[in-house]
């Protein structure tokens, strides 16, 4: 579904990714793990088009989208949940979702389906997103991405900095989404246990290079931990 092929990406003159290749299988989940500063978020930003690789290619469903703008990639079925529970702070919860649904044929239905996954958001529909807790904002961020009815979901540390009770809820929702089919997921995560539970493939990123990769699943947890400890 997504093929990131030998990409080199940087900010201004400082290079962050040095020839990284990652593949996300159709209807499958791939996890990218690594320490802070390894280049995980940069990889996702390049995948969605917020950063343009200096070389290499990003292919989505067979099409080369390397030079496509982010909104064009979203129109093709890519959705991205950035790190840090991002929302439009001065828009209400309802407006955050409506903003994405505007102009879409199934906009209303897509909002309803997203809210079914995070029912707590229904009671917060008139509250400004900037006044929500971190966990509520992260639920809103995932719901907002789902309103675009994506075929590929890019998740950047969806459980980072969130209270444990909400972390469990978000993890279960992501696992359910991945299991229901029709959606591929590229998950950047620091929690090895959760990432390996969700993923069929994993990639360990270290200093902008893939240093280890393999099949996902609980049995790979030890191998991943070892790769991360090096």
């Amino acid at each position: 579904m997504l093929e990131i092929d030998n990409v080199h990406v940087g900010y201004h003159r400082s290079s962050v990714l040095h020839g990284v290749s990652v593949e996300v299988p159709k209807d499958g989940v791939a996890a990218v793990l690594g320490h802070n500063g390894a280049g995980k978020s940069t990889l996702l930003r390049a995948a969605v088009g917020l950063l343009t690789p200096s070389s290499g290619a990003v292919r989505f469903d067979g099409e080369d989208v390397t030079r496509r703008k982010p909104h064009e990639r979203v129109a093709r079925g890519m959705a991205y949940v950035p790190q840090g529970q991002q929302a439009f702070p001065h828009l209400t919860t309802a407006e955050n979702l409506q903003l994405v649904a505007d102009g879409r044929k199934r906009g209303k239905a897509a909002i309803a389906e997203a809210l079914d996954l995070f029912p707590a958001l229904r009671t917060l529909s008139n509250r400004r997103a900037g006044l929500l807790s971190g966990g509520q904002r992260q639920q809103l961020a995932i719901a907002r991405a789902l309103v675009t009815e994506p075929r590929l979901l890019l998740l950047d540390e969806p459980t980072e900095g969130i209270q444990p009770s909400v972390v469990a809820e978000i993890e279960e929702t992501i696992l359910a989404l991945a299991a229901r089919g029709g959606l591929s997921v590229l998950l950047v995560e620091q929690h090895v246990g959760f990432a390996m539970r969700a993923a069929q493939r994993y990639f360990v990123l270290e200093a902008g290079r893939v240093t280890s990769s393999g099949a996902g699943g609980k049995e790979s947890v030890a191998a991943v931990r070892e790769a991360l400890s090096v």
Binding site: V48, P70, H71, P89, G130
Partner: protein
């Protein structure tokens, strides 16, 4: 008492003109953080549009009615062109934007001189707007110019239209979304470039409408926009960047303050006192009259 009421209403009418001018800025400067020094020349473009239309449409009333939408389109198109040619390359570079748009404003002024000549020109106001209306009769009557009432009505209509557009329409949501988090808007499927251009079109178009209104209360000249644009920037800053209700309140407060101070002092002293008041106010509330509270800055 009549004198105080009279000065207050004069102040409200000055505030209405200020509000009309500041309204376009509230979108381009208040919402998009672009310091467009050529905004005053879009006002001028609106005013000259009225002048040109009156040459082909002899009925002053009809030409004024036609001028409102046409001036909106002319000034809006100029704004969208400026955004496409220059400003989109300068987002997040406010000083460069200020210098470049100042240069554009000088070019537009010269263009107006070349086309219409350096001396000011005038339009005819419709008969309906040339008289006065008596609000309080008797020995010491309080009268208000019809044209001032028309401008007040136009300003209120423009505020309501802009407010409804920003709050109730998908375009308004997109504009607010792009202003609040550009990257997030883009990855939410919104073409931020298109939204920028549309917002600039509307903001500049509103300047054109303000230009039409100004033809009712003064002459049309190449520098007419420059003379008033600084006051409009002050309205936005004091009201709170991006806060429409702050813009409305401060426009009227500054208008009334200016009018009352002018009555008890002189025009120049009143101007100085208002500016001193603004400096003191911004020392106390640098964020302006209104600001939004959030738990995070994302």
């Amino acid at each position: 008492m009549t004198v105080i009421l009279g000065q207050t209403f004069t102040g409200i009418s000055i505030g209405a003109v200020l509000l009309l001018i500041a309204l376009g800025l509230s979108l381009t400067f208040g919402q998009m953080n672009v310091i467009n020094m050529a905004h005053g020349e879009f006002i001028m473009a609106g005013a000259y549009t009225t002048y040109v239309l009156q040459k082909s449409i002899t009925s002053a009333g009809l030409s004024l009615l036609v001028a409102l939408p046409v001036a909106f389109l002319v000034a809006g198109a100029l704004g969208a062109l400026l955004e496409w040619l220059l400003i989109r390359r300068l987002y997040l570079r406010p000083l460069d934007t200020l210098l470049v748009t100042w240069g554009v404003s000088l070019m537009l002024q010269q263009l107006a001189r070349d086309i219409f000549g350096a001396p000011n020109v005038q339009t005819r106001a419709p008969d309906l707007l040339t008289g006065n209306i008596t609000l309080i009769g008797g020995d010491d009557p309080l009268t208000v110019a019809n044209s001032r009432l028309f401008i007040l009505g136009l300003a209120i209509a423009a505020v309501v239209a802009l407010s409804l557009t920003l709050r109730m329409t998908s375009l308004g949501r997109r504009i607010r979304g792009v202003v609040q988090n550009r990257d997030l808007a883009e990855v939410s499927g919104i073409s931020t470039e298109r939204v920028d251009r549309t917002a600039f079109f509307i903001g500049s178009g509103l300047a054109g409408v303000a230009g039409v209104a100004l033809t009712l209360v003064g002459p049309i000249g190449p520098t007419m926009g420059t003379n008033i644009i600084i006051d409009a920037f002050l309205v936005i800053v004091v009201g709170g960047i991006g806060q429409l209700k702050g813009t409305v309140i401060v426009a009227f407060v500054l208008g009334v303050l200016q009018s009352v101070l002018e009555y008890s002092t002189t025009v120049s002293v009143a101007k100085v006192l208002v500016l001193v008041g603004i400096v003191a106010f911004l020392q106390w509330r640098p964020q302006g009259l209104y600001t939004l509270r959030t738990r995070s800055l994302v």
